[in-house]
């Protein structure tokens, strides 16, 4: 492994083909940051591995990541200056593989039963074809959740993101009742804490689970601070999810394809989910027309019963 790593570096240094290098980087995959720092202590600590499974490792084997951007409380409530984030999901490309969920769970250290972004199988009417419906938080411009929050723990930022401050949340769960999209999750018990050091203000942390508090998709604002795409976008092998800045009128997907937002929305007849609710979501959908994947099986419309 180590040798391969070196080989790869030397190739990159040679300034060769960037496209091929990107390919190689994808194939080589991630290396574990696990390092042995000393003798085993015998104390086992719970940890989520990259597949999202709960494992127990010795204390000294805990990986330490640091995520420090020095974001203050005030900045985290204001948002990233000059941005208005927006997401476009191309349903014609989504084959329901669920890798967005996996990538998201890894990014935010979530156990498998928690899904900030989730893939549902919807069928609008008995004869209409079913399709995979990817549902992150819609970060509405008229968010029903921030309206009802009694303590300003969930709030709309200037960059369009609806964030949660889990140092403020009192756990009344009114926002969960108010959200028509069932996006919000509650920490019913003590979450498994990853061994990472994060000193940003709570809404900009990668790990946001706190017992007795609500959590949800945050559009990976800590990644946007670094000009990097959210985990679900970079995790989507179908290039179905686009993310960008509405002020720049551009959205980008995993392979770096950057398109003009307004033009894409116009050309591909984009829509927002349940527009009639008037919440003005910041997530647009492109209809599943000309699918690039085998469509899901036709099902009985009454999907309610299969829960």
């Amino acid at each position: 492994m180590q040798e391969e790593e070196n080989t790869r570096r030397s190739f990159l240094k040679a300034g060769l083909i960037t496209g091929a290098a990107a390919l190689a980087a994808g194939v080589v995959g991630c290396n574990s940051d696990t390092k042995t720092k000393g003798a085993l202590t015998g104390k086992k600590v719970p940890l989520l591995d990259s597949a999202g499974n709960l494992i127990y490792v010795d204390e000294v084997h805990m990986p330490v990541h640091t995520n420090f951007a020095g974001i203050s409380d005030e900045e985290s409530r204001k948002g990233i200056p000059g941005k208005k984030f927006v997401m476009v999901i191309d349903l014609a490309k989504c084959d329901g593989c669920g890798k967005c969920t996996k990538a998201c769970n890894k990014m935010h250290y979530l156990p498998p039963e928690k899904e900030w972004i989730t893939v549902k199988e919807l069928q609008d009417s008995p004869k209409a074809a079913p399709y995979f419906f990817v549902k992150p938080c819609f970060h509405c411009d008229d968010p029903p959740c921030t309206k009802v929050c009694p303590v300003d723990a969930t709030f709309k930022r200037e960059d369009g993101i609806v964030a949660i401050d889990n140092n403020r949340c009192i756990g009344c769960r009114f926002c969960m009742a108010a959200c028509p999209y069932s996006v919000r999750l509650f920490n019913w018990d003590e979450p498994v804490k990853p061994n990472i050091v994060e000193v940003n203000a709570a809404p900009e942390n990668a790990f946001q689970s706190k017992k007795g508090c609500v959590e949800k998709c945050d559009f990976c604002s800590h990644m946007s601070r670094k000009n990097e795409l959210p985990a679900c976008v970079t995790g989507c092998p179908m290039d179905a999810i686009y993310f960008g800045d509405e002020n720049e009128d551009a959205v980008t997907n995993k392979s770096g394809e950057t398109v003009v937002l307004s033009q894409m929305l116009e050309d591909k007849a984009a829509y927002r989910f349940m527009e009639e609710l008037g919440t003005k979501p910041r997530v647009y959908y492109l209809p599943p027309y000309n699918r690039q994947y085998p469509k899901p099986e036709m099902k009985n419309i009454n999907s309610e019963s299969q829960s």
Binding site: K147, C149, C172, A177, D189, L277, S303, S307
Partner: protein, 460 residues
């Protein structure tokens, strides 16, 4: 001639009503022991919940509100009876209300206290409760609810206390064989009352103001509680009838619990003269009117969307009318509304205390189940269908912890009332006397007194 009778009756009223203070009623020890045990079990369950988190409840991400919130609505509901008896009946000139006001206010006081307590039980982080003051957003209906509940609690305290002043003075003067601390307490509470003209003027003014103010406050408490759910977009909750629907459901449940409390106190304290057949049959008529109104509201709330069967409402209505929750739903409608209405329509049943109390139990229990029906089934039908939810996330059945905590809240509610009635006369003495003087025994519903005071209509 009449004044002699009145003086004689005064003696009887004061003697009989003061005798309930501190008196043991039937099986007092047993009742208090059982209730205290339930309360202790509930407190232990609550401590477990505080330590472990809400994971010990059956609530999960889909059904994120459970019986705690249902009970909040229930307690807020029965608290409305105080306003009904002390204001609505006052302004409608119902003289028979005189002996009932303190019971109604006690129910209100105790219910509002526990109504304020239920949301705290439901919070994920109760230690951050003070954030509501330090970081409160008045745009949130929760703030309105907190403000309304606190206001109503404070108002109810004042309204409980004001009519107590002359009675406290009476206790101060008469109950001289009480322990010193009790006498001190009564003396303090009497606020120097000696019944002079100015004192009467101020007291009457205070009661008048409070009885006007408390009505909008009481209605706002319940309306705002209804808004907690109707300000969301969920199917079944997203309806403008919610406020009035809650208010009338509350009045109905409050009336039922009033009748039940009266029957318990009447038997327990031998108050047959004061909580008489007249009161039960009058309240039965009131209960009949309220159940009819509530049935009418239910027809509107469920019937109108059931005719249209609009997309999102359809799943919920199918569930309620024919599906998983059909049994509970139809029990509340049939046993909680239709059968009570039919039964109360017969004068014979209205005149029988036993039957009226039976019907009230039916109405009360179904009103409690109805709160469950209002909250839980709606949460199981979100706009985006539940798919692949982890085990237990798409269903709800309260856990032992939830049952214990809820039962403890109920027990606490009764215990607070027992405490109130142990310290103060159950029936407002001076108001009853005043009623007798002004309107006579019959008009205020006194029965089988030693003497009978009749006041001619034109004398009044």
């Amino acid at each position: 001639m009449n004044s002699d009778l009145i003086r004689e009756e005064r003696h009887q009223i004061e003697a009989e009503l003061l005798s309930t203070v501190g008196r043991r009623y039937k099986k007092e020890k047993l009742v208090i022991t059982v209730l205290s045990l339930i309360a202790i079990a509930g407190i232990i369950a609550w401590i477990v919940q505080l330590r472990e988190g809400l994971i010990v409840t059956a609530m999960r991400d889909y059904v994120s509100w459970g019986i705690y919130i249902s009970l909040l609505f229930f307690f807020v509901g029965i608290s409305l009876i105080g306003a009904l008896v002390s204001c609505a009946l006052r302004f409608s000139g119902a003289t028979w209300r005189y002996p009932l006001t303190r019971i109604a206010e006690a129910i209100t006081l105790s219910a509002v206290f526990f109504a304020g307590f239920m949301p705290v039980l439901d919070m994920g982080r109760p230690e951050r409760l003070y954030f509501l003051i330090t970081h409160g957003r008045i745009q949130s209906p929760i703030l309105w609810d907190i403000a309304a509940i606190v206001t109503y609690l404070f108002g109810s305290l004042i309204f409980f206390y004001l009519p107590l002043i002359p009675d406290a003075a009476l206790m101060r003067d008469r109950l001289t064989n009480m322990p010193a601390w009790k006498r001190k307490l009564y003396k303090m509470m009497a606020a120097g009352w000696e019944g002079n003209y100015l004192q009467r003027k101020f007291l009457n003014r205070g009661i008048k103001i409070m009885s006007v103010v408390i009505l909008p406050v009481a209605i706002s408490v319940h309306t705002v509680s209804a808004w907690l759910i109707s300000m969301t977009m969920r199917a079944g909750w997203n309806t403008s009838i919610m406020g009035p629907y809650f208010v009338f459901g509350a009045l109905m449940a409050g009336c039922a619990i009033m009748i039940i409390m009266m029957s318990i106190l009447r038997n327990g304290y031998n108050l047959q003269h004061y909580l008489s057949h007249t009161h039960f049959s009058k309240l039965a008529v009131l209960l009949l009117a309220l159940t009819c109104t509530y049935l009418y509201f239910n027809i509107n709330k469920y019937g109108v969307p059931a005719y249209k069967m609009q997309g999102d409402e359809k799943e919920l209505l199918n569930d309620l009318l024919l599906g998983r929750h059909a049994v509970l739903f139809w029990v509340t409608q049939i046993f909680g509304l239709i059968i009570p209405i039919i039964m109360l329509s017969f004068q014979k049943i209205r005149n029988s205390i036993r039957w009226v109390v039976f019907v009230s139990w039916l109405v009360l229990i179904c009103a409690l189940v109805n709160r469950y029906i209002i909250v839980i089934p709606n949460m199981m039908h979100p706009f985006i269908p539940i798919q692949g939810a982890p085990a237990g996330y798409a269903t709800y059945f309260p856990t032992l912890i939830e049952w214990l905590v809820s039962a403890a809240a109920m027990a606490g509610f009764v215990l607070v009332m027992i405490l109130l009635f142990k310290a103060f006369p159950i029936v407002t003495i001076w108001e009853t006397e005043e009623g007798v003087e002004k309107a006579g025994d019959e008009a205020i519903g006194l029965e089988n007194m030693n003497v009978k005071v009749n006041v001619l209509k034109n004398e009044n």
